[in-house]
């Protein structure tokens, strides 16, 4: 029995959503797409959903939504009975959607085939710096580039509806100083930035670093040609610290 279940899980997980499942049922049962036996289709669809429930699979909400659409169509058909009316066939919108999806599925297969051949042709590997052609660039790529930088820093901007407290330089100075090893070994400033959560914090951290340097609590050095900043712990902050000129 296990193997039957396994193959069922496999096939369910392979469906690209409810439309794909419907298409599969229609093709498997060789139904006429222009005159779908809707009651049979709904029954089969329902039993698939039931099997997914029995196997404790997480069912995407889209599958449940589709079930409600199917049940709605079924109800309309049953009420209408066999009598001829001028109203639109309740199945039509869904049929159109399924056919549109089938078309995309075929095109996706063709694209895959093309990619299998041409995706494997190579030119000389990129050795110099990558050049971005100006015609290809728009403001969204600028936003994307900045987003990628933030992601690289493992920073996540807080959702806009939560009011973000402006990071406090004094607090940040204390936290940065505590972060540095007390054995006076050079410590990469970048590693400290990785602990922060927003670009505002990064900038505040930078100002804090400058202030710590000014006060003589840390020394900085930049490794040859690397331009990475290293900090060395020197001494604790003076107790009677007065801040000037910030914020």
């Amino acid at each position: 029995m296990a193997s039957v279940e396994e193959s069922l899980i496999f096939s369910i997980e392979n469906f690209q959503g409810p439309l794909d499942l419907l298409l599969h049922l229609i093709r498997k049962e060789e139904m006429d797409i222009f005159d779908i036996p809707i009651i049979k289709l709904v029954d089969q669809y329902e039993s698939y959903i039931q099997k997914m429930k029995d196997l404790n699979l997480t069912i995407a909400s889209e599958y449940i939504y589709m079930l409600s659409i199917l049940l709605n169509i079924k109800a309309k058909i049953l009420i209408k009975g066999k009598k001829e009316t001028k109203e639109e066939d309740p199945r039509t919108p869904l049929v159109k959607q399924i056919m549109e999806y089938e078309k995309i599925k075929k095109l996706a297969d063709e694209l895959k085939e093309i990619y299998t051949i041409w995706g494997g042709t190579y030119s000389r590997e990129d050795k110099g710096e990558e050049i971005l052609f100006i015609e290809d660039l728009n403001i969204y790529q600028i936003a994307e580039a900045f987003n990628n930088i933030l992601k690289k820093l493992k920073l996540r901007e807080k959702p806009p509806f939560i009011s973000v407290k402006r990071p406090d330089i004094k607090e940040m100075m204390v936290s940065l100083l505590n972060f540095l090893p007390k054995n006076k070994k050079p410590f990469p400033f970048y590693d400290y930035l990785l602990t922060l959560k927003s670009s505002l914090e990064v900038i505040t951290a930078f100002l804090s670093m400058l202030e710590l340097i000014r006060l003589g609590s840390v020394k900085y050095l930049i490794k040859d040609g690397k331009d990475e900043i290293y900090l060395i712990y020197l001494k604790e902050l003076p107790k009677d610290l007065i801040f000037e000129g910030y914020i």
Binding site: F34, A60, I104, L111, K112, I117, Y122, Y140, Q141
Partner: protein, 177 residues
């Protein structure tokens, strides 16, 4: 500058250029206004490579030309590098790419409606792989982003332009009813 010289220059530029080489790019460098001559050199090179070489070829992609290995060489290159250097796209990715390629520019809600399921994760992968890009916003509630395919898409799929995409089979039967 005669044909032979033009051909030599083109093949040198083709080797070093990481993107398809376009005639207007070349024309801009040499300022000789001889578009016909350069086009001739492009064609000569195309024929020459395809006749004289079995491992290499000239491809016309993204409205430019590119010097590449032949598709049959993929296995050997993989063996040489001892790893798969080609990105493997999922079935969902090919579906979303097909929807965007044939309906661009298009928003995520519209893509989701065609597939009947959400496609956010796939969009992210396609953006990261530079197969698609955001090209604007749709003037509807929420101003969603509009997505289009990129030049990188054309290159990776060996297409000269979107016109070279496989033709869509029309289903007119339903409308005819």
């Amino acid at each position: 500058m005669d044909l032979k010289e033009k051909v030599s220059i083109l093949e040198a530029l083709l080797l070093v250029s990481t993107k398809p080489l376009k005639i207007n790019q070349v024309m801009e460098i040499f300022q000789d206004g001889d578009e016909k001559g350069w086009e001739e050199a492009f064609s000569f090179l195309e024929k020459h490579f395809n006749k004289e070489h079995n491992g290499l070829m000239i491809q016309r992609v993204a409205k430019g030309i590119r010097l590449t290995t032949k598709p049959q060489m993929e296995e050997y290159i993989k063996t040489f590098y001892q790893k798969n250097i080609k990105h493997n796209f999922s079935r969902a990715a090919f579906e979303v790419l097909a929807i965007i390629a044939y309906n661009q520019p298009i928003t995520i809600p519209e893509i989701n409606a065609i597939r009947g399921i959400s496609s956010g994760g796939v969009i992210k992968t396609l953006l990261e792989k530079k197969m698609i890009k955001i090209t604007g916003r749709k003037n509807v509630v929420g101003k969603p982003f509009l997505f289009s395919t990129t030049e990188e898409f054309l290159i990776r799929f060996g297409l000269n332009s979107l016109k070279d995409l496989p033709k869509v089979e029309e289903f007119n039967a339903l409308e005819a009813e």
